[in-house]
Amino acid sequence: MPPKPYGAIHFRLEDDLAGYAAFMRDRFGVQTNFALMAGTRDLEACAARTTELYVAVGLDAVSNMEDKALLLAKKGPFDTTLVFKEGDIARRFGADAASSVGAIVDTEILADAAYYVGYAGLSTFDRTLVDIRATRDQYDARMATPENCTFTVGKNRQRGVIEVRADLPAGKVWMRHFQSLP
């Protein structure tokens, strides 16, 4: 686990869903994500004291060479260094459990991050992270609100989204800073 404070991002880039055309169309590449992050003012404020960006991704399963090269370069937005989970943590539980164990490790790290960027519209993993971060410090009955610095990227139309970037390779994409639950 990287030393706090650190930023975190979840990339759904693994090729285990290859063959699902819709999924492949909707996902973002690394470059688009980083460009969106760099252009988001709220996120810049959240990342002010962070030097490391934890990337939740199954690096071994990323088959897109462009994405993989960007990740291996270990350079993130806001002059951060990319860090990944140690492969041994997951592998020592066996091949069957490796992906689930990896997901658990990612969940714990992303929940504790100073800022978090996911794709809640695409991945239930990201959507759960929003819930976890919203209720992490809740010990009494009250309406949950997402912790500050919880972001999601998105594509095409979405209600309540202000910052839309049309100049990126993926088309009309946006970054949303959660102030309430989606």
């Binding site: 997901a103 658990i104 819930d131 209720t135």
Partner: protein
């Protein structure tokens, strides 16, 4: 008016006795009290009905009726007990004849009703015989092999319990690969759904599907491999509102509910829209801590 009432009372008490009283000197003899062949000596005074060995002492109609009623009750009880004993004996014999039934129904005392129900529902069709009959050694050996199979299966798996869910996520191949049931968080959502419904998860019930299954059978992971069950139970004991988990090692998916991506709409999202639901989600995530070996 007062005089009329007094006259009526006097007339009633004097001329219309309320019931037959044999002690009255003017009472007519009861024709049913006539002695019958086989009657013994008269009952002692103050103890008009003699039971048991003195049954023959009944002399009056009331005595005979009381004796017959008593005998009928005793016979009824005796018959009922005998029938119940037969029922239990036959069921036990049925189990003893068939080792697989004995293994299934008689490990902690025989489930007599279960055995009795088994025969009409299954046993007859399977060619079994109910009751204390003698079956051939070959037939017994055949069912012994079935018992061995059951025992081997149990050593690798666990018994199903009412209300228990065995396996979350997984399912058909298209569901595993990006379909509605795929992914660790869908499994987690499904687990939360059980908590919301107040399911009694008295036995280990959860398995988490692996992400990248290539060929069936799909790999699955017992929940206690991934999550700290002791922490979960300690947290539940302290905060309540969630079911307990018990460590076990399930190895096969018995029933696979289909949990879709829309789960969070019904499970997490719904509760998150009210204060108490939000608190429950918070408790759920705090109780679900990774296994110590993971972190």
């Amino acid at each position: 008016m007062r005089a009329l009432v007094i006259a009526l009372v006097v007339a009633t008490s004097a001329g219309f006795p309320k019931h037959y009283d044999a002690s009255r000197p003017d009472a007519a003899p009861n024709p049913f009290d006539a002695p019958r062949p086989g009657d013994g000596p008269a009952a002692a005074a103050g103890n008009p009905v003699v039971y048991g060995a003195g049954a023959a002492a009944a002399r009056t109609h009331a005595e005979r009726v009381a004796l017959r009623r008593r005998a009928w009750k005793e016979n009824r009880t005796r018959t009922h007990d005998a029938r119940a004993q037969t029922h239990a004996e036959s069921s036990t014999c049925y189990a003893k004849n068939y080792p697989d039934l004995f293994y299934h129904f008689c490990r902690k005392g025989c489930n007599v009703d279960g055995l009795h129900t088994h025969f009409p529902n299954h046993g007859r069709k399977e060619g079994r015989q109910f009751g204390c009959v003698i079956i051939t050694a070959a037939e017994k050996a055949r069912w012994a092999a079935q018992a061995a199979r059951l025992e081997a299966l149990d050593s690798r798996s666990h018994h199903t319990h009412g209300g228990a869910i065995l396996g979350i996520g997984g399912g058909p191949r298209n569901h595993m690969l990006g379909g509605p049931g795929a992914g660790l968080n869908n499994a987690k959502d499904g687990f939360f759904a059980l908590c919301q419904r107040g399911r009694n998860i008295s036995y280990p019930t959860l398995m988490w599907n692996a992400r990248v299954p290539n060929t069936p059978p799909f790999p699955s992971i017992p929940h206690e491999t991934l999550w700290d069950v002791d922490h979960w139970n300690a947290y539940v004991a302290k905060h309540g509102g969630l079911p307990y988990l018990v460590a076990d090692k399930p190895t096969s998916i018995v029933g696979t509910p289909r949990f879709a991506n829309r789960l969070w709409l019904n499970m997490f999202r719904g509760p998150m829209q009210n204060p108490h639901g939000s608190l429950k989600v918070a408790h759920f995530h705090r109780a679900l801590r990774p296994h110590p070996l993971i972190l």
